[in-house]
C-alpha cells in the first residue's frame, strides 16, 4: 500500500503522462488478425479444456453475425480487427515457488509502477494480482487467503484448478451474446482475475488487480469473475495504466460479479488509461461490460468508478436486483479533457421485491471533452416496492466542452418510487479568483473545487485509492482553465 502511494505521489509531480514507457521484455505474440484459427491458438497456448474452447468458438461465430452498435454519443474511428494482435504473453519460464523467478525486466516494470509484488503483509494489506499484457503474472497473499478458503487467482489458473466454479458462474451475468464487445471478449479473452469468497467469510483485506497494456497494437481482453457466496463480503480494487502509444488500443473487458444471499461486494476502479495527446491522437478505447447480479436475498453490489483516462470510455457498470431486498449502487466520477469522449453510466434492473438502487454520477468536462451520462432504471412488473435515487451532475470547465444526459426510466410497477435529480454547473472565474486572493494558485484552486465536487463519490473509495483518485483528478485537469 505504501508503494502504491509512492507511485501516485511520484506521478503527481508532473502533468505528463508518467506511464509512457515501454518494457523491453520478451513478449510472445501471435500474428495479428482474428479468425477461428487465432481463437484456437489462444486456447491452445493456455492449455484450455475442450469446454472452454467450445465457449470461445461459439462466441466467435456469433460475433461474426454482429455489427458494432452506433447509438452511443461517441465518434469512434473504424476499428480494423485484422490489424490487432489478440494475444501477448511474457515468455513462460518454469514455475518455482519463490517470487524471484519472475523475469527481472518484468519485475523492474512492476517496481516502476510501484506494485507491491513483494509480500509486505502488514504494510500493504493488499493482495495484488498483476496482469501484464494479457497474462496474470503473480498473485500475492495467495497463501494467506487460502487459509480462509478465499480463492484469488488468475482466470487461467481458475479454469484449471476450479473448473466447476468457473463453469457454473461464467457467462451467467454477461452471456456470450450480450453485446458486440462482450461477444468479442468471450471469443478472445486472454486472462483476468478470478475471485471466490466462501460462505460466511469476510475478506480481511482489499483485493486488487493491476493492469497494463504493453505491446503495440495489442488489445486487452480481460475477463474477471468475482463470486461472493452467502453471507460473505469482499472489497475489490481495480487500477489501470497504459504506456503512451500513437495507435489506439482496444480494451474490451468483461467483469461479472455474483452476490449470493446476504453477501456484499464493493468493486472500485480507478482508471487512468492513456487518454490520447492534446490534439486527440492516440489513446485507449475502453469498451467494457461490467455487470453484477444480486442473486440472493439481501445481497448488495456497489460500483465506485473513477475514470480519468482513455480516449473513449464506453461502459455501464450495472446491477441486476434479482434477490428480494437487494441493493445496487453506482458512484462515478468521469473526466473528459482535451478530446476525450465518454458515454457512460449504469443500468439498474429491479426484479425482486423491495429492491433499492442508488446512482450518483459526477461528470467533469474540460477542453473539448464530451461527457455523456446514460442511465437506465428499469422496474419490472412484479418488482414491488422498488426504490431508486439518481443524481447526475455535470461540471463544465471552459466553453468548448460538452455534457449530455440520457436518463431512461422504465417503470412497470405502481409501487415504485423513482427520484431523479440533475445539475449542471461550471467553475466560475469568481471562485478561482477568491482562491487566488487567499494565496492559492489557479491549478490548486481547480483541484480543490473539483475534489469538493467529487467528494461524495471519492468518499466511497477505500482509503488507499482515494488518495490516488484525488491526485489523478487534479492532474487530468491541468491546463484546462485558460
Amino acid at each position: 500500500m505504501e508503494k502504491d502511494q509512492d507511485k501516485i505521489l511520484s506521478d503527481v509531480t508532473s502533468g505528463e503522462y508518467k506511464y509512457g514507457f515501454y518494457s523491453d521484455i520478451e513478449m510472445e505474440k501471435i500474428p495479428k488478425g482474428l479468425s477461428e484459427d487465432v481463437v484456437r491458438i489462444i486456447s491452445a497456448k493456455k492449455n484450455e479444456p475442450e469446454w472452454l474452447l467450445e465457449f470461445r468458438l461459439k462466441s466467435y461465430r456469433h460475433w461474426l453475425t454482429m455489427k458494432m452498435p452506433t447509438w452511443p454519443n461517441l465518434k469512434i474511428p473504424p476499428i480494423n480487427y485484422q490489424e490487432i494482435i489478440f494475444y501477448a504473453a511474457p515468455v513462460e519460464r518454469p514455475k518455482l515457488n519463490s517470487i524471484d523467478d519472475i523475469d527481472p525486466e518484468l519485475r523492474k516494470t512492476f517496481d516502476k509502477l510501484g506494485i507491491p509484488l513483494t509480500e509486505q503483509k502488514h504494510l500493504a494489506g493488499v493482495a495484488v494480482d498483476a496482469v501484464i499484457d494479457s497474462v496474470s503474472v503473480k498473485t500475492t497473499f495467495k497463501e494467506t487467503l487460502a487459509e480462509m478458503g478465499i480463492i484469488f487467482c488468475s482466470f487461467s489458473d481458475a479454469v484449471k484448478e476450479y473448473p466447476d466454479l468457473v463453469k457454473r458462474y461464467m457467462g451467467s451475468v454477461v452471456p456470450y451474446t450480450d453485446n458486440f464487445f462482450a461477444t468479442l471478449n468471450s471469443a478472445v479473452f486472454s486472462d483476468g482475475s478470478f475471485c471466490y469468497i466462501p460462505k460466511g467469510v469476510r475478506c480481511p483485506m482489499e483485493l486488487s488487480t493491476y493492469f497494463r497494456i504493453n505491446s503495440a497494437n495489442t488489445g486487452q481482453f480481460e475477463r474477471t469473475l468475482l463470486i461472493a457466496d452467502e453471507e460473505s463480503y469482499v472489497s475489490y480494487l481495480e487500477g489501470c495504466t497504459a504506456p503512451s502509444r500513437d495507435e489506439n488500443q482496444l480494451h474490451a473487458a468483461i467483469v461479472e460479479i455474483v452476490a449470493e444471499k446476504n453477501a456484499e461486494v464493493k468493486y472500485s476502479t480507478v482508471q487512468n488509461w492513456y487518454p490520447g495527446n492534446k490534439e486527440g491522437k492516440g489513446g485507449v478505447f475502453n469498451f467494457v461490460t461490467k455487470r453484477g447480479m444480486c442473486k440472493g436475498e439481501n445481497s448488495k453490489i456497489s460500483w465506485t468508478q473513477i475514470e480519468t483516462g482513455s480516449a473513449i470510455t464506453w461502459k455501464y457498470p450495472s446491477c441486476i436486483l434479482r434477490g428480494d431486498n437487494s441493493t445496487g449502487e453506482f458512484y462515478s466520477v468521469a473526466v473528459t479533457n482535451n478530446y476525450q469522449q465518454a458515454d457512460t453510466g449504469t443500468k439498474m434492473t429491479h426484479i425482486g421485491k423491495n429492491t433499492k438502487s442508488t446512482i450518483v454520477s459526477k461528470g467533469i468536462s474540460a477542453g473539448h471533452g464530451q461527457n455523456s451520462y446514460r442511465g437506465l432504471v428499469k422496474v419490472l412488473k412484479n418488482a414491488t416496492n422498488a426504490r431508486n435515487y439518481s443524481q447526475c451532475d455535470s461540471l463544465l470547465l471552459g466553453d468548448k466542452c460538452g455534457a449530455h444526459t440520457f436518463p431512461y426510466l422504465e417503470v412497470d410497477n405502481q409501487t415504485a418510487i423513482v427520484e431523479h435529480e440533475a445539475t449542471t454547473s461550471k467553475i466560475g472565474e469568481d471562485q478561482i479568483f477568491y482562491c487566488n486572493q487567499r494565496g492559492i494558485s489557479t491549478e490548486d484552486a481547480i483541484g480543490l473545487i473539483v475534489n469538493g465536487y467529487a467528494r461524495e463519490v471519492l468518499n466511497k473509495l477505500p482509503m488507499e485509492f482515494a488518495v490516488e483518485a484525488q491526485k489523478l483528478l487534479q492532474i487530468s485537469l491541468e491546463g484546462s482553465v485558460g
Binding site: G428, Q437, R438, G439
Partner: protein, 272 residues
C-alpha cells in the same frame, strides 16, 4: 545630533516605511474609464477609510489592488513595500500580505472551510519559508481565531460560504483575515447588509487584529462603521478621483451633509 539632521532622518525613515504608494492610478473596465488618477500613500499601522457615492470607483480600486484581470490599468503605478504590485499575480500579492474582504463573497460548494483555510495558510507559510502546520496545530489556530472574531463554530465546518447569510459571509471574511494575518487588509464594503450587532462583531475583529505593522483600507458607503473602526485618514472618492482627504471628522461631516455636498463642491470647482 542637531535638530536639522534629526528632521532629515525622520523624513528618510518615513519614505522607506511607506507600505503602499499609489501614484496617478487610472483604470478602465470594458473600455470605460473608472479610476481617473488616484494618488494615495499608506504607512504601516494606519487605517484609511475610502468613502464615496455609488459608482465612484471604490470597489474598482479594491479590485486593482487585489489583481482582478477584468480591470485594466491604463496609467500609473502601485508600489507595495518597494515592489511593483501591478506586476504580481493575485496569489503572489496575497502571499505578500494583501487581503481583500470581498463585498460579495462567493460560494464554493464542496470545499470545506477547513480544507480551504488549511491550503491558504500553508501556502502563505511556504512563501515565508515556514513549514506547513500540522493538522492539530492548524485546528488549534482555527479555534483561537474563531473565538477572537466571535464566529460561530458551525460556520467554519461548512463549505466555503455555502448557505451563509449575508452577515455570516462578512463575518467569514473577517475570520479568514484573522487566519491569514495580512499586512494590508482591504475591506470592500464589509458593512453593507449588516445589522448593528453584526457590525459590532466585524469591527471588533478588525480592532483586535490591528497592529503597528499592519494597515487597513476600509471602503464604506456609510459612516456608521467608522464609529467602531476609527480611521486615521478619510478619503472621499468621487467620479474616479480622490476629491477630499482629511481626518476622521470628515466622515461625520459627510454623514451630516451627504454626498451632494461633495458633488456640489466638485462641480463648482471649489478646492476641497
Amino acid at each position: 545630533m542637531g535638530l536639522k539632521s534629526r528632521q532629515r532622518t525622520k523624513v528618510k525613515r518615513q519614505k522607506v516605511n511607506t507600505m503602499l504608494i499609489i501614484n496617478n492610478l487610472k483604470a478602465s473596465i470594458g473600455g470605460k474609464s473608472i479610476l481617473k488618477g488616484i494618488t494615495l500613500q499608506i504607512k504601516p499601522g494606519e487605517i484609511h477609510a475610502i468613502m464615496g457615492p455609488n459608482g465612484s470607483g471604490k470597489s474598482t480600486l479594491a479590485a486593482v489592488l487585489a489583481g482582478r484581470e477584468f480591470v485594466e490599468v491604463t496609467e500609473g503605478t502601485v508600489t507595495y513595500n518597494g515592489k511593483n504590485l501591478l506586476d504580481m499575480p493575485p496569489e503572489d500579492r496575497a502571499k505578500e500580505g494583501i487581503f481583500l474582504g470581498f463585498q460579495y463573497p462567493i460560494e464554493i460548494p464542496g470545499v470545506s472551510m477547513v480544507n480551504f483555510m488549511k491550503t491558504a495558510v500553508n501556502e502563505h507559510r511556504k512563501h515565508n519559508g515556514l513549514a506547513p502546520l500540522s493538522a492539530s496545530d492548524f485546528l488549534k489556530m482555527m479555534r483561537e481565531k474563531k473565538e477572537m472574531v466571535e464566529i460561530d463554530s458551525k460556520l467554519a465546518n461548512r463549505s466555503v460560504n455555502e448557505g451563509f447569510s449575508g452577515g455570516e459571509k462578512k463575518k467569514n471574511e473577517i475570520f479568514q483575515m484573522a487566519m491569514l494575518e495580512p499586512k494590508l487588509a482591504i475591506l470592500d464594503e464589509t458593512d453593507s447588509g449588516l445589522d448593528i450587532d453584526a457590525l459590532r462583531v466585524v469591527a471588533n475583529g478588525v480592532n483586535k487584529l490591528k497592529k503597528p505593522d499592519n494597515s487597513f483600507i476600509v471602503i464604506t458607503h456609510y459612516q456608521r462603521l467608522l464609529d467602531f473602526i476609527v480611521p486615521d485618514v478619510v478619503h472621499v472618492l468621487y467620479d474616479g478621483r480622490i476629491v477630499k482627504t482629511a481626518g476622521k471628522e470628515l466622515a461625520l461631516e459627510l454623514e451630516e451633509k451627504g454626498y451632494d455636498w461633495i458633488k456640489k463642491e466638485v462641480e463648482n470647482n471649489i478646492p476641497v
